[in-house]
């Protein structure tokens, strides 16, 4: 197990008003993402609990790209990871952000 934490500043807040959303499941090669709108509009915190050690650098890159592409201002994102590949993490984060934007 490894715990990782990233703090980012965004240019804008994520659109939408939804307070929270959850997507994915904790399973081998998959992950669960909980998104909560509870921060200042230009802040995004990502807390990761992963089953596999030693990939902090890749997680940092995946999260930084997600923040740059989606501008998820206002969100705390909590990840429960069952050893997902980076492509699955990116997709799940994008899906989570879209869920938060939907009415």
């Amino acid at each position: 197990m490894e715990k990782l934490s990233f703090r980012h500043t965004t240019r804008t807040a994520l659109p939408g008003t939804r307070a929270s959303a959850i997507t994915g499941v904790v399973a081998s090669g998959n992950l669960e993402v909980l998104l909560e709108r509870n921060l200042a509009p230009d802040a995004c915190h990502v807390e990761i609990d992963t089953a596999i050690k030693g990939y902090a650098e890749v997680w940092a890159a995946v999260v930084a790209d997600f923040v740059a592409r989606r501008q998820p201002g206002g969100l705390t994102i909590t990840i429960n990871d069952g050893g997902a590949r980076p492509d699955t993490v990116s997709l799940r984060l994008a899906q989570g952000a879209r869920l938060m934007e939907l009415p």
Partner: protein, 548 residues
Amino acid sequence: MMDWRQERTARDARLVRARPHADGKIVPSARVVDLLEAILQPGDRVCLEGDNQKQADCLARGLSGCDPARVHDLHMVQSGIVLPEHLDIFEQGIARRLDYSYSGPQGGRIAKMLYGGQIELGAVHTYLELFARYFIDLTPNVALIAGVSADRDGNLYTGPNTEDTPTVVEATAFKNGVVVAQVNEIVDRVPRVDIPGDRVDFVVEADTPFYVEPLFTRDPGAVTETQILMAMMAIKGIYAEYGIRRLNHGIGFGTAAIELLLPTYAERLGLKGQIATHWALNPHPSLIPAIESGWVKQIHCFGSEVGMDKYIRARPDVFFTGSDGSLRSNRAFCQTAGLYACDLFIGSTLQIDLQGHSSTVTTNRVAGFGGAPNMGSDPHGRRHPSDTWMKAGQEAGGTGDPALRRGRKLVVQLVETFGDKLVPAFVERLDALELARKLNLELAPVMVYADDVTHIVTEEGIANLLLCRTLDEREQAIRGVAGYTDVGRGRDHAEVERLRARGIIRRPEDLGIEPLDADRSLLAARSIKDLVHWSGGLYEPPAKFRNW
């Protein structure tokens, strides 16, 4: 005085030696070894029919049972090295030299034997290349082939898996060679004549039906959301943009996902009738929903697929079938069709380097090629235009009179940035180079050469290599879709953004793809059982795919 009939005389002598073991043309399976020892001579070139799917396994066991004191130093010329016996004969000293195309299941052992010097390798060919050499400098002296049934005159019914048989027989029978066929049964009248009897010298009634490998069945239950995302990108960013009607698909899960999205996602985009209508393809079960939804006009097949026979029989407007109703496949013709008459090849690979060369070789396996290098290459002999081909040619640039420019075939690599066990698909240097060095091969076994690849699709986006004008641009375009592999993380971020602004790299969001659509509910079938339902019960999946 020149003797112009030495080969014919030698053939007659072989037949005379073999006669005592046959009743007319018919040979009982118990006499196979005697028959082969009578026919074969040391140093013969032999095709022991090992196709992509169908295997002359009874004759393979027979050959492996021959006495190496009598039968030795054979030169094997066959497309597939699939059965253990195909390599046993090299260990036994029966065979010495090998020219082949594909060795999927035996890839590990073949590498060891090449390394140990037990096999003298001619070359690893593409299918069409090996078939071509059958008629020029690798003509078999003896062909050992497989069919479903034969009559007493040797007329042969190959069944839906005709595959390589007509090509092998053509080269052998018309150049003084001897043709021996194994069949599952001897009948009074064959359902249709795939090989006329006067090209077949002996028929062996096999002890068991020949082995067929179900190579083309992909369980929709195993298709991932990443593969669905990539399939959406391919459909929207390539199939729709270039209006691809004539195509060939590889056998991976990525292309299976595309097939399963045609009646759902592509239908929603209004693409029915505009794309994916004419195919060079094995009968993929995952294409059933698209066929049943009226997407597919016709399919020509390299071989068949286990469980698809009844379905094919019921859809003669789509498939090529004989007067008996069953599929007629033909690997040589279908490869030619894929090479010259298709505008797109899309398939997966294990490694892509910084220039775009791709290979399925790893340091311990020589899996060979099969069809991908023929499908996945730009045929310079092509002369007929199509909108797709012309658009690709235009994107590739060039100067001078437009009427003197060639079009381009689209050759697309559909690849997840990480494979099994987080092995990166993008590498600085192909393992194939190390293997070539180790085995002292003159050519590294490259599946698709960089100058033939036009697009690379990963979960991160599409790189359009046609639009790249320098090697640096090309490298950054590849790094720009290589995700979080070392190659991907080594990108020049500013240059990648410039390539994106020029449309050379396109992300899912640039294509207007909704990430929430990347869900298994988008698949037209989510299980093998769904495919059976789509087929109205006509598709009969083999036991290993029946999990209900």
